[in-house]
Amino acid sequence: MHGLETLTRLNREPFVVDDNPLNHLVRDADGNSVPGHPLRDHPRILRLRAVISGMGLNGFFKSHLYDSLYRYADQIVARPAYLYGEGPDNLEALQQVSLGDLWERSLMRYSRLGKG
C-alpha cells in the first residue's frame, strides 16, 4: 500500500503545463478550467490508453472507454496484477465496468419516462 501511495504521489506531478495555453481550458458551461488527470501518465493508464487508441471501435464507445479510464483510474492502478487465467486483466475490467455504466444509462434512456 505504501508503494502504491508513493507511486500515486509521484504521478500527481501535474499533467497541466502552465505555460501551454491549450491547458488553460474553459469548460463550456461554467467557465471552470479543466485539469489533466493526475494518473494520466501512470504506466498502467498509459498502457491502456495506447491499447484503446488502436481498438477498432466506434467513436462513442471509444470515447466512453477513455472516460471510464479516468473515472476509475485510481482503482485500476490499485488492482492486483493477475497472472494469465487468474483474473481479468485491466483492459477486460475496464470494458466490463464501461459496459455496465452504459447499460445503466441506456436503461434510463429507454425507460422513456413520460413517453412510453
Binding site: 447499460w103 422513456r112 419516462l113 413520460g114
Partner: protein, 217 residues
C-alpha cells in the same frame, strides 16, 4: 407514463423497488403501483452544475486529447484524412486552409480540396497525416467539448440526449434543451432553469422518481 418500463430500469439499477426486474414485466397493475411508490421514495439522481446544466454523473471532468474525447482514430492514410474531415468539421477547415495555401502557390491545382487531396503528392499527404495526428493529440478545446456534448459522448451529453429525446416532463420541471450547435452559444446541454429545490419539489408533487442534486457538491 410507462411506469412499468421505468420501474424495470430502476430495478436493474438496484434502486430497491419492491419487485425484481423480471417480475415487473408480468406484474399486475396494483403491484406496479406499489413498486412505483417505492421508486418515488428512492428516486434516480441527476447532477446539476452552477449554471443549471444537468449531468448523469457527479464526476470530475479531466482534460483529454481531442482523439480521446471524440473517440477518433490515428490517421495513417489519405482515406483516414477524408474520414476525419467528414467526422469533425474543424479538421475539414484545416484541410481547406492547406488546400487554399497550396493553391495560392500553384493556381493549376484542383479548385476543391477533395480533388486536391486525392491527387496530392506523397510528401504532401505525409505532411497532412503528420499534422492530423498532431491535431488529434492536442488537448481538447471548448469547441471539442461542445461537440462531444452534442454527440452524447459525455455525462452531460448523455443527459442532454435523455432529456431531449425521452423525458416527458421538461416543461413541468423547467428544463430547457440547449443543443442547437450554435458555435456562439455559451454551452449545450439540458438546463434546469427552475433551481434545484423548486425542481425537486415539483418532482415530488408530481410523483416522479427523479431527483436533482448539486454537481461536485
Amino acid at each position: 407514463m410507462n411506469r412499468r418500463q421505468f420501474l424495470q430500469s430502476l430495478a436493474a439499477l438496484g434502486y430497491g423497488i419492491s419487485l425484481p426486474a423480471g417480475a415487473l414485466a408480468d406484474a399486475p397493475e396494483a403491484a406496479i403501483e406499489q413498486a412505483w411508490e417505492t421508486a418515488v421514495g428512492n428516486p434516480y439522481t441527476f447532477y446539476v452544475d452552477s449554471k443549471g446544466v444537468i449531468s448523469f454523473s457527479n464526476d470530475q471532468l479531466w482534460a483529454r486529447p481531442r482523439a480521446e474525447l471524440l473517440g477518433l482514430f490515428p490517421v495513417t492514410s489519405t482515406g483516414d484524412l477524408f474520414d476525419l474531415a467528414d467526422e469533425v468539421g474543424a479538421f475539414k477547415s484545416i484541410l481547406a486552409e492547406e488546400h487554399a495555401r497550396d493553391r495560392a502557390r500553384d493556381p493549376a491545382i484542383a479548385a476543391d480540396w477533395r480533388s486536391w487531396l486525392m491527387a496530392a503528392r506523397e510528401d504532401t499527404v505525409t505532411g497532412l497525416i503528420r499534422r492530423a495526428n498532431a491535431w488529434l493529440e492536442e488537448i481538447a478545446a471548448p469547441a471539442d467539448w461542445r461537440l462531444a456534448h452534442l454527440k452524447g459522448y459525455t455525462d452531460r451529453g448523455q443527459a442532454l440526449v435523455f432529456f431531449r429525446d425521452e423525458f416527458g416532463f421538461n416543461d413541468l420541471l423547467g428544463i430547457a434543451i440547449l443543443a442547437d450547435g450554435d458555435p456562439g452559444s455559451a454551452f449545450v446541454g439540458a438546463r434546469l432553469q427552475t433551481g434545484l429545490d423548486e425542481a425537486n419539489l415539483r418532482a415530488v408533487a408530481n410523483r416522479l422518481p427523479i431527483h436533482f442534486a448539486l454537481w461536485r457538491c
